[in-house]
Symmetry: C2
Subunit: 329 residues, 2 copies
C-alpha cells in the first residue's frame, strides 16, 4: 500500500460506517472467484449463524451477475474480493451491483485497479499466505462481516469474534512451527499421488475448497474435490479405499461431530487420512462458542504451508501455470 | 403409494396452501443429503432469481442442524427430501426445524417413514430416474417452490414455469431417444477412465453435482468433482489436459455464456469433452426466459441414461455398494 493511502484499518472503519448509515440492510452478497470466493464462504456461514435481519449469500462473480438476485438493490451490501483487482467477472459484478443501488465494498491489493475504481469503498490488503496478519484478506473480511453485524444488529458475539481474530496471528505462527514435522511428512507421503480429496464442514468448507481448486488442481495439477463432511456419507464415501488420500479439517466448533463422523469412517478404510485438528493447532484457547469463526483463518495458513512443502517434494513450484499468465482465454 | 392415500397432486396443493396461510414467510430452507440435496439447488437458485420478500437457502441436513440459522423460526418454510424417509440427518433436521416453529414439508417415497412422521406435511413421490414424470421429486419440488412463490408473491413467471414443467415428461423421453447413439458412445469412450469431471453453472449445477457424487463416486467408484463453470477459470482449469474427461451441461438460459466460455476452453485442451446441450436436447421449444428453470429436469434424466450405459460398459452395476447397505457407519 502506498504511504499516502490511509491504513487498512481506517478503510474498514469507513466501509462499516457506510453500511451502518444505510437506511436498511437486508442482504449481504459475498461475490468473488476462486480462492477469493472461498474466503467468502465462512463469512456467509457467519451471517447464516448470527444474522437476524440480514441474510448472507456467497456467489461466484459470473454466477452472481447471471443470477441477478431479485432482492439485489438499495438494501443490499455487496462485498467483493480480487487480489489484483483485475478479475473481469468481479469487476463486472461490482459495476452491476452498484448500478442496482447496492453498497459495494471491495477487497483488493490493487490500488487504482478496475475493481477499486468500480467500487464505492475499497479496502487494501496484503497477501502473505504462509502466515496470517490483521491486514490480510481473511482478517479484513471478518472485520467487515462482524463489524456490520455488530453495528446493525448489536451482535455481541461479533465483538468477541473480532477479539479472537486479533489473537490469530500469534496462534497461527505457533501452529505452523509446531506442525513442521507433519508438514514435511505429508510432502513425502503424498508426492506421488495423482488424486487427493479434501474434506470439511461448517465455516471450514471454504478452506478445503480453496486447497482443492487453487492448490491441488491449479498449482499442482493433481485431481481433487472438496467433499462436505456431511455429504460424504451420501455418495462420496464409496470412493474411499485403502490408497485414496484425504486431507480433513477437524473443527472443535459446532460442526465437530459432522467432521468426527467423516474422519472415523475415512480412517477405517483408507490408510492415507491426514487430519488437521483445530485442537492440535492450538485453538483450544479460544472460547468454544467463538472458535468456529476463526478456525478457517488457521487452516488456510497451515494448509498453505502443507502446499509449499508438497510443491517442493513434487518438484512442481506453486507458481507454475500452463494456462493462467500464459495464454489468452 | 398405497391406494388409500390422497394423490401427490393433492398433497402438494395442501402443502402450498399451508405455506400461503402462514402469517409471514421470509425464508425457505431446502434441506437434504446427497442426491436429494442436489435436487434442492435449482430450487434455491429459483428463489434467488425470483423471490423478493423470500430468501432461499440450500443446506446439507447435518450442516443445517449444526449451523442452526439465526433466522430459522415461524417465518421459515423448511422443505426436506429423502427417498426412503429414513436418512437420519434429514429426520433430525425436520424435528429441529419443526421445534423452531418452521413449517416443515417433506418429500419422500416412504409413507409412514420417520421423515413422514416428523414433518407437518409430506408429499410422496416416485423414483424412476431414467425418465421424468410429474410425480417425481424434481417435479414435486418445482410445484412447491413455484407454487409458494406464486401464492405468496404473485410471481407470474412461476405459473409459466409450472406450465413448462408439465411439458417435460414428453420432452425428456424424446431427448433420451434422440441421444441413444451418444449415450452408447460415451459408455464406450469413458469405460477405462479413472476420473471424470462434471461442469455446469446456474440452476444446472445441482445436476452436475449429483452426477459426480452419486453416479461417478458412489455408484462407479470413479474419481470426480463437480466444477462450477464460472469457477473453472480460477483454479480448476489448470487440471485440463488432452486426456482429462469433462462432462459439461450447456444451458440456453441466463448462464449460457458462463457455460460456453468453459466449454470453449475445455475443448481447446482436452480431447475428451462431452457436452449435454439443452438446445440439442430439444429445450429450444421452451420460452427463453423460462427454460433455465426446467433444464435441470432434462439433464438429470438424460445423465442417468448416460450413467446406466457407462455402468454396463464398465461391468459395474449402479446398484453395487461396498459400504452403503453393507456395514454400519
Amino acid at each position: 500500500m502506498p504511504e499516502n493511502r490511509v491504513s487498512t484499518e481506517q478503510l474498514v472503519i469507513e466501509a462499516v460506517a457506510a453500511a451502518k448509515t444505510r437506511e436498511s440492510v437486508t442482504d449481504i452478497y459475498f461475490v468473488a472467484c476462486g480462492g477469493s470466493y472461498a474466503l467468502m464462504l465462512p463469512n456467509q456461514y457467519a451471517v447464516d449463524r448470527l444474522g437476524k435481519g440480514i441474510t448472507g449469500h456467497a456467489l461466484n462473480a459470473a454466477e452472481f451477475k447471471a443470477r441477478s438476485p431479485a432482492r439485489l438493490g438499495k438494501s443490499s451490501i455487496v462485498i467483493l474480493c480480487s487480489l489484483s483487482g483485475t478479475t473481469p467477472e468481479t469487476v463486472e459484478a461490482a459495476k452491476f451491483a452498484r448500478a442496482a443501488g447496492a453498497l459495494t465494498i471491495s477487497l483488493t491489493s490493487g490500488v487504482g485497479s478496475p475493481l477499486d475504481e468500480a467500487s464505492e469503498h475499497s479496502v487494501f490488503y496484503k497477501h502473505e499466505p504462509l502466515t496470517f496478519k490483521l491486514d490480510h484478506a481473511g482478517a479484513v473480511l471478518a472485520q467487515l462481516t462482524f463489524g456490520i453485524l455488530a453495528q446493525r444488529e448489536g451482535s455481541k458475539e461479533s465483538l468477541e469474534i473480532l477479539a479472537a481474530v486479533s489473537r490469530m496471528p500469534e496462534l497461527v505462527d505457533k501452529a505452523v512451527a509446531s506442525h513442521s514435522a507433519r508438514i514435511r511428512e505429508f510432502g513425502e507421503a503424498r508426492r506421488r499421488e495423482t488424486v487427493v480429496y479434501t474434506m470439511a464442514s461448517g465455516s471450514n468448507f471454504g478452506a478445503a475448497y480453496s486447497y482443492s481448486i487453487c492448490i491441488l488442481q491449479e498449482m499442482q495439477w493433481m485431481h481433487s474435490a472438496a467433499i462436505h463432511a456431511g455429504e460424504y456419507f451420501h455418495g462420496p464415501f464409496e470412493i474411499t479405499d485403502s490408497d485414496v488420500p484425504f486431507l480433513v479439517l477437524r473443527s472443535i466448533g459446532t460442526t465437530k461431530e459432522v467432521d468426527d463422523r467423516a474422519i472415523t469412517f475415512a480412517k477405517r478404510f483408507s490408510t492415507k487420512v491426514t487430519v488437521l485438528d483445530a485442537e492440535e493447532l492450538g485453538l483450544g484457547v479460544i472460547k468454544p462458542e467463538i472458535v468456529e469463526y476463526v478456525e478457517h483463518l488457521m487452516f488456510s495458513a497451515v494448509l498453505r504451508n502443507y502446499a509449499q512443502r508438497l510443491s517442493f517434494t513434487r518438484g512442481h513450484p506453486l507458481t507454475v501455470r500452463r494456462y493462467m499468465w500464459q495464454i489468452e482465454y
